[in-house]
Symmetry: none
Subunit: 216 residues, 4 copies
């Protein structure tokens, strides 16, 4: 494979800096994590977006969060058809193998995936409607929620609301997985829906009784 390249120099330099400092100072813990295995308390499902740093926001230590990141923090419905389902595999591994106690879905403002979904629903993004568009087909998961926001005239507000609905959709879909449903019912697993405002550093949590997000 001739196309794989050496790592860019700036990353090599930073890696060596980390190795000489943070790694050295935490060597005992890193070795123990390696030999004893991980035991994260929570799984976080967030977006790939480079502006979302879940470990920073929560002051996370190495070993604390099992983190899956995909476009728009979406979980598809339970569909055990034998095909590759990357997201479903992460949920299955977290809940049945690692036995995490919390599933946290973290949405965020200015989400490009959610904006793409809106564009597609308004008929402004024909390329996303093509069968071959992976992003389009992935955002299909969120499409049913568009009706909840379609009457919001302000485009900013509409996008912010659909971002929050992407979190609700994932929570609802998580409950279609039998192994999630069972553990939620017996109290050994709890679900949490969050949405963060990147520019303002805000954080909101979904309240199922009020059916809305309130500031943390």
């Amino acid at each position: 494979m001739e196309f794989a390249k050496p790592l860019p120099n700036y990353l090599v330099t930073r890696y060596h800096g980390w190795k000489a400092t943070s790694y050295q100072e935490n060597k005992g813990w890193y070795r123990r994590l390696a030999t004893e295995g991980q035991r994260p308390r929570a799984m976080v499902i967030s977006c790939c977006d480079s502006r979302v740093h879940v470990t920073s926001i929560f002051g996370a230590d190495q070993g604390e969060f099992f983190i899956h990141r995909n476009i728009a923090n979406l979980v598809p419905p339970y569909q055990p058809d034998g095909d590759h389902h990357g997201t479903s595999a992460t949920v299955e591994y977290a809940v049945t193998a690692l036995q995490v106690s919390h599933l946290i879905v973290l949405g965020h403002s200015q989400c490009g995936g959610v904006q793409g979904c809106i564009d597609m629903c308004k008929g402004h993004a024909p390329q996303l409607e093509e069968k071959t568009s992976f992003v389009g087909r992935w955002m299909d998961i969120l499409k049913p929620k568009y009706q909840l926001v379609q009457d919001i005239e302000d485009e900013e507000q509409q996008a912010r609301q659909l971002e929050r609905q992407s979190v609700v959709a994932s929570l609802e879909n998580l409950m279609t997985f039998p192994f999630v449903d069972e553990k939620v019912r017996d109290g050994s697993l709890s679900l949490h829906g969050l949405w963060t405002d990147i520019g303002e550093g805000g954080l909101e949590c979904y309240d199922p009784k009020l059916e809305l997000f309130t500031k943390v």
Copy 2:
């Protein structure tokens, strides 16, 4: 949805701490990231494992890496069949919408997903062979590489080698995506394969000429 719960207190407390410090100190940058959008230089595809902190290792700033994390850092082959393909959607978005310059696949030692693949190939994990096992069906992506390591007697060595092969498999599969292949050929995109040793803090890079991983 009655089952969604408030965020555990320790995370609420830590979030407020982040908001009052890191956020305050970087408010200008966060706001600019919100209004101007992200512009990451690289996409990183790593494992969900709680022990892999790609932002730490590379001293990453907010906005630098578009990060996808799934079980065993696997990319499936190009398969535009109209179904939900979460990982393919992240690659499409990174390469065609964000136009990143680097695709970095980061494997790691003590990977539970890779170990599951070995167990399955050896016939020791019948539950992973069931059609309904999302983890099993996801690890099918790596199965063809098992033949390269099946004769390694030492089990530790065998697992470490298959972890490295999970990176090679992903690099190879990335090249089956037309939009990746095209950009690699015209020089606007480069691929990189890495493997990190969690306990020792080591980092190795795939060298396609030698067809092996060498220390960074």
Copy 3:
């Protein structure tokens, strides 16, 4: 001393978060605590176990509890021989200098120290019987209570009962301290024995008339 290291980064970050929030919001109280001194109502003697959070369970404010934590929440008998007696020093300080009104001994389920005592009494832990084993010699304090549980066949039940007896042993030993005995008799100090179930969040209180623990 070349071996002392900087504080791990994740703790530095969290500390700054606390400083900017909790500290700021309570600055007046913290300063008053500093200038006027502490005036705790109660002393709590609990185990070092990371799963026992006495301040959480009792919603404790800063300044409320004088807290001693050791292996298995044990108090040794009064023995004023001029040697270092760390636990006895904490009791003396709490009762004679701070003049607390309550001495609370808090035991807990799944106590590793108590389990070690059982293993030692059954002859399964020769390393704990060595003169140089600090844990073994410390658990000698509890050994006389083993006879009360030795006939319990179920190992779980046996451990849970000896954990409760570790609380009773400490209460009995506290009464051998003249300054405790005197204040208990004149009514200015009262003793309380508690046992908490970590997994179930249960709390039981020792009833000296019934000679057993009842749910709070």
Copy 4:
């Protein structure tokens, strides 16, 4: 034992509040901690002082810190003579059984134990010099450090400095334990010395090269 009393009502009430809220929301994690056992990353040795809240300062989750608290956060020198040594037992358990990666000694301002040591060294506290004084005999551990501060005229400054020296003394004594020394040398354990200012919320870390404490 007629003297043990029911728990004061205000604590009963608070406990039921915790059980109905925090416990309910985190039940899964608490149960897992109970069945799988603790695996704390660090041990903290702090003072019993009611104004020192180590879990608050570091935003600690249940299960993160193994905490020993005694008068003036002192560790006596290694002395395996077969007597009860409560503090040594906690260190032995943390390092050999739990295999923590960090030993953190946390001193603090306005420490009553340290003030007692100063009074004793100045001949102003005859009652602490008696053989039967547990506090006095415990503070003997710190006495050798008094010579480092005896020439400081300002009494406030003198106390603040001896408080910091109580941390250094404990670090030095920790290194006399063979099982600590061995693990520090092989890099699997690191020691950290901290001192916190209660009124100002400050935190300082001991730097062995400079032989002084610097702000975190």
